[in-house]
């Protein structure tokens, strides 16, 4: 929480500048401003712009983390400039200088401004981002539960700032990945009981090789989001609804891979890499190992496996035998499964619903 009682002090901001008309490469530029420590990085940038250099370019408007304009990277981490306190930024700074640069995964236009259309908005358009009404449309409002509307409010709270897109590792590797923000938007319709095309939407996103199963669970988007939208959580919910409720078996093998993954951990307490692939294709049965697709995938993965062996990331014995953990630990892992799977309804974490996240 912000401490608002400290007097103004000097802060040095190191900004990544880029002028596309100059023909010069991007460069760093320092400005020192005077502000109280609880004031924002945006206010520091604006003070530098007002006092020293009006050519500093940044999109911004509301100053209160609702318009979503001022997504940047502060000390390498994605954030809204208006939502980052100077004292907090200073703690994460090297050499006492706060670094501000444009977001990642999107082309830079000028200084701190990136082209969101080329990446972000194109992907939003990809998820059919409008309600497809359940028929008949009632004369008054649809009668739906309070909980359902509060539930989708979490993804509705997305301000499209792009912070999650900026640091999405899957998108870094596969720029075509639909990505965290657009998929969170997709959940806003899938979770909406007034939408008529939940199966079609889920099937579309599950079958797309760059859809819901392209996410690699790195949690970067969860950390990056300034509005607690929890984009990865929404993607995982899309997966659970696709697989558990709609029984969609996707061509990317995402559904079986996930089943194999959770099954192995339930059995062994830890992941058993060598068994993951066969099970992903052939299910939990012993014969699954001989599934032709598993062999093909194994063959194509050989270079990675060999590299991993050479670098000592895996040992032949460690790969072929299950990892062992203490019996009491295994029991603890399994008790988590019992607790979660034993509930009559699937438990979904949602800050709006759970409300009281602390006593």
């Amino acid at each position: 929480m912000a401490d608002t009682h400290k007097p103004p002090q000097d802060f040095t901001i190191r900004m990544r500048r880029y002028d596309p008309e100059s023909g010069e490469a991007p460069y760093w530029e320092d400005h020192t401003v005077e502000l109280a420590p609880h004031r924002s990085v945006l206010e520091a940038i604006l003070q530098a712009r007002d006092r020293f250099d009006g050519s500093i370019a940044i999109r911004c408007s509301c100053r209160q983390a609702i318009c979503g304009s001022c997504g940047v990277r502060v000390n390498g981490e994605p954030a809204l400039a208006c939502h980052t306190h100077l004292d907090a930024a200073l703690q994460g700074a090297k050499d006492g200088v706060i670094e501000v640069e444009p977001m990642g995964n999107m082309p830079v236009i000028k200084d701190l401004i990136v082209d969101m259309d080329a990446v972000h908005w194109k992907k939003v358009q990809r998820v059919t981002p409008w309600l497809i009404n359940k028929q008949p449309v009632p004369e008054r409002e649809y009668l739906v539960s309070h909980d359902a509307m509060v539930d989708v409010t979490q993804s509705m709270a997305c301000i499209q700032c792009g912070a999650c897109v900026s640091d999405c590792l899957a998108m870094e590797v596969d720029p075509g990945f639909i990505g965290p923000a657009a998929l969170a938007k997709a959940y806003r319709f899938v979770g909406d009981p007034r939408d008529d095309q939940q199966f079609e939407r889920l099937n579309d996103l599950a079958q797309d090789p760059q859809g819901i199963f392209d996410c690699t669970h790195c949690f970067k988007c969860v950390e990056a989001c300034p509005k607690d939208v929890n984009p990865m959580g929404q993607i995982m919910r899309l997966r659970r609804i696709a697989t558990n409720d709609h029984h969609i078996v996707d061509q990317n093998n995402g559904e079986r891979h996930e089943a194999a993954f959770t099954g192995l951990i339930k059995d062994n307490g830890l992941l058993w890499e060598a068994e993951l692939l066969p099970r992903s294709y052939g299910g939990a049965s012993w014969f699954g190992k001989f599934h032709p697709a598993a062999g093909k995938e194994l063959l194509s993965s050989l270079p990675s496996i060999i590299r991993a062996l050479i670098r000592g990331k895996v040992t032949p014995m460690g790969a072929l035998k299950p990892h062992k953990i203490a019996k009491s630990d295994l029991q603890s892992v399994q008790s988590i499964y019992r607790e979660i799977e034993g509930r009559p309804e699937r438990y979904e974490l949602n800050l709006y619903v759970s409300g009281e996240d602390e006593p």
Partner: protein
């Protein structure tokens, strides 16, 4: 040159609603905004939208509350239209996907709001504006084949044909710096208010009065510009808004003695009196030494009386604002707030279809003055205003487009003029003042002399200072000499727009020698219906601003004493 039946400037709620309505009527439509549509300031509206949808409610009750809230300066024909059409509009929003929160029966839940005689505010937590804006943008994406979007295009002026009709705009592509003229049979201004003429303000940095000033410069009258709303609950330091929804959910206002001082000013409605009444009561506490916080410049807003679970669910945004911007957990302790500039009731004078007196020029939303808000807007009526009159303007403009040819206008002359104007700003020598300095001085000036309490001497000082600032702004210099995202030069143009808005605000405030709604003159503390139950219109003539008057439309509610 691009040509459209209907060209909308501004992509907040009014603009997007106008675009969708005009496209539905079959017109060729484009919507232009200096920012991406979801960045528009409608996004910051928190508390909700009013409509008499409850079976116990009646739109006439909503209309009466609005008339009373306006201190009888609102035009009752327009208010009747807004309130009677509200339930259908809100149902339409629900049908296109707004995630309105529900009651235990699955119907839309309603919360209490200031100045309302019953609960009639539909809401999405405390992000209602965001939810509405994003859902309308979903619809624009859905209808991308029928609505062209010019995102991040800055309008520099309105085009006028030889008959004095509005015939399009000149605009600058912010990304490339390219200037372009657009012809249009109709232009709808939907580019918001002018809050940045004040400092502090709850309004975003983009809210700079562009549409008001452009219409004024074209000769359109501005109406009731003196009516500037101060919202009762803004953070002391930054002016950031704490939604009225907090008081709607039951929060109290306390002075330094721990008294709920609203007992004196509004014994029945208490904290839920209309905003002008609450802001004045707070300012009196502060001025008489019963304020709290550093320098006694604040008032306590106590949200701890609302059940914590309810606060976390229904007021989550302000829980975060409190933590992040004031260092206060509002579920545990009171937060210090004060009145702050929030909204302008005045604007470009229009009829109930959004038409201005200039043919081909429409306005809707905060840029316009229909007038449904009169001297004081009720909370949660602004979203309603944008949608009802945005839609009506879009429909009317589309119908007009069907019966007239595309105007012929020498757009190139205007294009060259605006391009030369921008080049001249970029080339100014560095010997005057910076744009940012003048803007700061203007904002502080307005917040001092054209605020909750006003008087002749202060307003005169303001007017003289504005004249000087206007002079200085014509030589104010900038740093950026580039074309790509030259926000610096746009800032210089915005400053000119804000100065026009500030000047007309002060002229109106000087003119209105009474106290009504948001205008409280300490030298004329009474409401004077005999003299001043009328609108003040300001037109830009050859000799500068010209003041005239127009009657207030009264249908069923005669002026009476206003008590809460």
């Amino acid at each position: 040159m691009p040509a459209h039946d209907v060209l909308i400037i501004g992509a907040g709620l009014a603009g997007q609603r106008a675009a969708l309505a005009a496209a539905r009527e079959g017109a060729s439509v484009a919507i232009m905004s200096k920012v991406h549509p979801v960045r528009s300031h409608s996004v910051a509206a928190a508390g909700g939208i009013n409509a008499a949808i409850s079976i116990d409610d009646d739109w006439r009750s909503h209309a009466y509350d609005t008339v009373k809230g306006s201190d009888f300066l609102g035009d009752q024909d327009a208010i009747e239209i807004m309130c009677s059409e509200a339930p259908a509009e809100v149902m339409h929003l629900e049908h296109i996907g707004v995630t309105f929160h529900r009651n235990e029966h699955g119907e839309m839940d309603l919360r209490a709001f200031g100045g309302a005689s019953m609960k009639r505010t539909a809401y999405v937590a405390d992000i209602t504006g965001q939810a509405l804006l994003h859902v309308l943008y979903e619809q624009l994406l859905k209808h991308h084949e029928t609505v062209d979007r010019y995102e991040e295009w800055f309008t520099t002026s309105l085009l006028e044909d030889e008959q004095g009709r509005c015939a399009g705009v000149v605009a600058r592509d912010v990304r490339s710096g390219r200037m372009e003229a657009f012809t249009a049979k109709n232009v709808i201004l939907a580019c918001g208010g002018a809050g940045q003429a004040y400092k502090p303000t709850t309004n975003g940095l983009i809210v700079t009065g562009d549409g008001i000033a452009m219409a004024y410069r074209l000769g359109a009258p501005l109406m009731d510009m003196e009516m500037v709303q101060y919202h009762p609950t803004c953070l002391v330091e930054t002016g950031i808004l704490i939604t009225e929804g907090a008081r709607g959910e039951g929060a109290h206002l306390l002075n330094s003695e721990g008294e709920r001082f609203m007992e004196k000013a509004a014994p029945n409605k208490m904290e839920l009196a209309s905003r002008d009444v609450v802001s004045r009561a707070e300012q009196i506490e502060i001025d008489e030494g019963r304020g709290v916080g550093p320098g006694g410049t604040g008032i306590y807003l106590d949200v701890t009386v609302v059940p914590r679970k309810r606060t976390l669910e229904a007021l989550r945004e302000i829980v975060n604002l409190g933590k992040d911007f004031a260092g206060v957990d509002i579920t545990r302790e009171p937060i210090t707030i004060r009145p702050g500039q929030h909204y302008i009731m005045g604007g470009v004078k229009t009829d109930v279809d959004g038409r201005t007196p200039i043919e081909g020029l429409y306005a809707a939303g905060e840029v316009a003055c229909v007038s449904v808000h009169g001297g004081n807007r009720l909370g949660a009526n602004s979203l309603l205003d944008t949608l009802i009159f945005g839609r009506r303007a879009g429909e009317h403009a589309a119908a007009r487009a069907a019966s007239i040819p595309m105007p012929s206008v020498d757009a190139n002359a205007a294009l060259r003029r605006d391009a030369a104007m921008i080049d001249a700003i970029i080339a100014r020598p560095h010997d005057g003042r910076r744009v940012s300095e003048i803007k700061n001085e203007l904002g502080e000036l307005m917040n001092r002399y054209a605020a909750v309490f006003r008087d002749e001497a202060g307003l005169q000082t303001a007017l003289e200072t504005i004249a000087r600032l206007k002079e200085e702004s014509e030589h104010a210099w900038i740093d950026d000499r580039g074309t790509v995202f030259n926000q610096d030069v746009l800032g210089a143009l915005e400053l000119g727009y804000m100065i026009d808005c500030a000047e007309t605000t002060v002229i109106g405030a000087l003119e209105r020698k009474e106290s009504r709604g948001a205008q409280f003159r300490t030298d004329y503390p009474e409401r004077d219906d005999d003299q001043w139950l009328r609108h003040i219109d300001i037109t830009l003539g050859d000799q500068g601003p010209h003041v005239s008057f127009s009657p207030v439309t009264i249908t069923q509610w005669q002026p009476e004493e206003r008590k809460y």
